[in-house]
């Protein structure tokens, strides 16, 4: 009972602020709305018993990545989008049409799924950090090391791109 109450209120907040992300005129409001979305999603992760992922979500996503976005928004001093009215309307129609099509397809896929209830007292124990760490350094050790290479490439790419002189 309490779980469904929390789920519904958090989901409504999440979807509403996600709509705010794509509808806000000022980029800075969009970034702040996305922070709200990510926070609500962290609450859903807690509801699902994934405490480690929820903590990472708040620390890395809502903390580090969104701060990076805010830095760039403030650095660039962006003005609200200016565009021809007809072109904008055309894009809106196309976007809503494709979005509706995608939603219909998703609903069709969900209907073919058995609506099995998630048993909240199932095999998963509350403390997940130990299990995730064990999996990360045994089964998924190679992808983990490859991810570090990817991050290194990201760092080098950002430095090379943002250098003052492109030569």
């Amino acid at each position: 009972m309490l779980t469904s109450l929390i789920f519904y209120s958090v989901t409504v907040l999440m979807v509403a602020s996600a709509l705010g992300v794509i509808l806000a005129r000022q980029p800075i409001y969009a970034v702040l709305m996305l922070v709200t979305t990510l926070g609500a999603m962290a609450a859903l992760f807690v509801l699902l018993g994934a405490f480690f992922v929820a903590a990472i979500q708040v620390l890395v996503y809502a903390g580090a990545i969104m701060v990076l976005f805010l830095f760039v928004v403030m650095l660039l001093d962006l003005s609200p989008e200016a565009m021809h009215r007809t072109r904008q309307n055309l894009l809106r129609v196309i976007g809503l049409g494709l979005g509706g099509l995608f939603l219909a397809k998703l609903a069709q896929a969900l209907h073919s799924l058995p609506g099995a209830p998630i048993d909240l007292s199932a095999a998963m124990r509350p403390g997940t950090t130990r299990e995730i760490g064990q999996l990360l350094f045994t089964t998924y050790a190679v992808p983990f090391e490859l991810a570090s290479v990817l991050v290194l490439v990201g760092i080098i790419g950002a430095v090379v791109l943002a250098k003052k002189s492109l030569d």
């Binding site: 989901t11 996503y61 580090a64 990545i65 650095l75 998963m124």
Partner: protein, 102 residues
């Protein structure tokens, strides 16, 4: 009230993903497109964690971890490209990127 099931989480995730797709299509500012892509990545994360809970396995949460790493790398390089674009073209409008040669 109906108990919260896997389907509830998948519907929330699908809604979020659709909002991300619509955002990529209707916004023309490159920064806003990146934000919409972040929304889609997070929708995938939500369904990964929901399925991880449903199946009682932790592998789904590991995948969320990797998606976050990829998102961080993507955002870093993407924002650097946007900064270069603003410096050389004077705008962050995605329509301004027309030439194949810089």
């Amino acid at each position: 009230m109906v108990p919260v099931t896997l389907t509830h989480y998948l519907v929330a995730s699908g809604l979020l993903f659709t909002i991300g797709i619509v955002g990529v299509i209707i916004r023309r500012n490159a920064l806003m497109i990146l934000l919409a892509i972040e929304l889609m990545l997070n929708a995938a994360n939500l369904s990964f964690v929901a399925f991880s809970r449903y199946l009682g396995q932790y592998s789904g949460q590991i995948f969320v971890f990797f998606i976050m790493i990829v998102a961080a790398a993507e955002v870093t390089v993407g924002l650097a490209i946007i900064i270069v674009m603003a410096r050389t073209r004077g705008t962050t409008d995605a329509d301004a990127l027309r030439g194949l040669k810089w």
